[in-house]
Symmetry: C2
């Protein structure tokens, strides 16, 4: 891959500097690699996100208006260090506590937890809600082993909206847990991205195969299947989502009349053309089941460099989640007007 970068070992620092410029004065660089909003109101219950770089526009692209207050940014595909987490936490804290909301990866959990302990030592109240939407990464009885993938976009959108008016850290934590519990994703990959520092592929996959349920860094999925069509693959992916809602005793099955946000994500090189062709089939299946699509997101929002692949995320809404969804938001990753499509 020919990449437009400078020093390949400094891409994470430089991209975060660029992200600050994209926010054009609304966010600032804090400490060694955190991005934080300038106008966080006093006493706001703060929302901190973060994770490895290289997946842009997530995670740090979800800092913004009615979204997250800040992000702790790791190096490429690496968790932010505890120092970075602490610096970000101090910067977003406005006296009413900080909710950490991030994808469930071992390195992130370790470093965010150390950062949280250090923040608690400074009397900052911290809670953590992990995002574990990837149903192919472990069975529903082992959610602690599940990875966070595309579902983080609707989840952060919802929790960011709720954080604007949350009365307490308890209240925001409970809201975030509900948003996570109602969000499930399935991803597939067709080809790897490349590691910026080495140019090497992020994983190996045969030319004629699809990695069903493969993670965004190439983590093992549920099967390697022959390359197929959009109309064949889409029902296979959706069935895994339906099955997970069915089998998980913590949630109801996804049923007729349920309202959802449906998100079709590209992992990078997969075109919007392909995403739309898959959406066409997915909507047909959702319609057949009587599931009401409240709103739709389509785009390359959770990427792994120029990886080819796609994921579907379903978030089931209740009235409280719908009200949070309807709030407008703006960021480098996802923006919307008030309301929802089709409303």
């Amino acid at each position: 891959m020919k990449k437009l970068v400078n020093d390949p070992l400094k891409v994470a620092d430089e991209l975060v500097e660029g992200l600050v410029e994209a926010y054009n004065g609304e966010c600032q660089l804090v400490g060694s690699r955190s991005i934080v909003k300038n106008d966080i109101p006093d006493n706001k219950v703060a929302l901190l996100i973060g994770g490895g770089s290289g997946h842009e526009p997530i995670y740090h692209g979800l800092v913004g208006r009615n979204l997250a207050d800040g992000a702790a940014c790791g190096d490429i595909f690496a968790a932010p260090t505890p120092d970075i987490v602490l610096e970000a936490t101090q910067a977003v804290d406005k006296g009413n506590g900080v909710l950490f909301l991030y994808g469930n990866y071992a390195g992130d959990v370790m470093n965010f937890d150390i950062g949280a302990e250090e923040a608690e030592d400074e009397d900052i109240d911290v809670r953590t809600v992990l995002i574990w939407d990837d149903v192919c990464s472990a069975p529903p009885t082992q959610k602690d082993d599940r990875r966070g993938i595309g579902g983080l976009v609707p989840i952060v959108k919802l929790v960011g909206a709720a954080s604007q008016s949350a009365g307490s850290l308890d209240e925001l934590e409970a809201f975030a847990k509900k948003a996570v519990l109602q969000t499930r994703s399935v991803g597939v990959s067709m080809a790897p991205g490349s590691i910026p520092a080495t140019g090497k592929p992020t994983f190996d996959l045969d030319e004629d195969k699809i990695g069903l349920g493969m993670g965004i860094h190439g983590e093992q999925g549920v099967a390697e299947i022959p390359m197929t069509t959009a109309d064949e693959l889409t029902p296979m992916m959706l069935d895994l989502v339906f099955k997970d809602f069915d089998e998980d005793t913590e949630v109801d099955a996804l049923k007729e009349g349920d309202e959802i946000v449906f998100f079709v994500n590209s992992l990078g090189a997969t075109t919007m053309m392909e995403c739309l062709i898959c959406l066409r089939k997915a909507k047909e299946i959702l319609n057949e089941r009587g599931i009401q699509v409240y709103d739709v997101i389509v785009g390359p929002l959770v990427t792994c460099q120029e990886m080819a692949g796609i994921s579907f995320s379903v978030t089931r809404l209740d009235d409280e989640l719908k009200a949070a969804w309807d709030l407008p938001c703006q960021s480098n990753c996802y923006s919307k007007m008030e309301g929802h499509y089709g409303g």
Copy 2:
């Protein structure tokens, strides 16, 4: 490339069907391949865009709230037929005329012009404003030979906003001409995309070269230069933009105090990481010149399948353009809240 499609010859039809689903009830499919909003108010001066498919999320992704009323969609990399243009025109017309706004490509001009004639035969008043922002495609004295590239995103955003309150087709046409005149772009390519029907690359380019000024389908640019860094390439690209404002007698030079919208576009496979690293350098140069960045757009919005490359677009704003910019908008391609970043 492993593409998630069905019949490769039907991708344009299927992606437009998927796009209608992305709008979740706010737009409908009209005729053979047009997408049109459902709620166009009576007597609104209508805005019709369009062009070849395969560049998603443009062109048809710019139909939306406070954006275009409809789009005539061609097959992959091909102009919409006159029939499609006519069907779209009839559907968006609400009695006060229709502005055609699209990129200056010979096939599009021919077919939209025939469609316009057929619409005039049915007493629909049609005007055409061509988008020709690519400064590398011809000198400023030959704007008729210039191509439309990334600049179409800020231009359609602005004209879509103005169309919500335009009193007449004359007024909207004049506004659109101003938005086009103040918008200039420079693109580069590093690697081709592929043609969905054949899998063949869209053009040839040596592995160690960058096509400076190359068009989004591989049209000839101003030079082939050795692959370089983000910090070396960014000033070269910006200098071509500044030079064009300087040399064009129809506009003032870009000078200290001017306010602009700055758009960094990825042609597809170029990552958001790279776009942000280039933005970081571009903002430094714009700051040095005292050019005020009113708002920033970054993302893969004008693509050519999984093509690697980037473009910069500059739109200089006056008070009227700024007011149009500040209106919120929502679509598959570009969405924003009220106002602007840094405001």
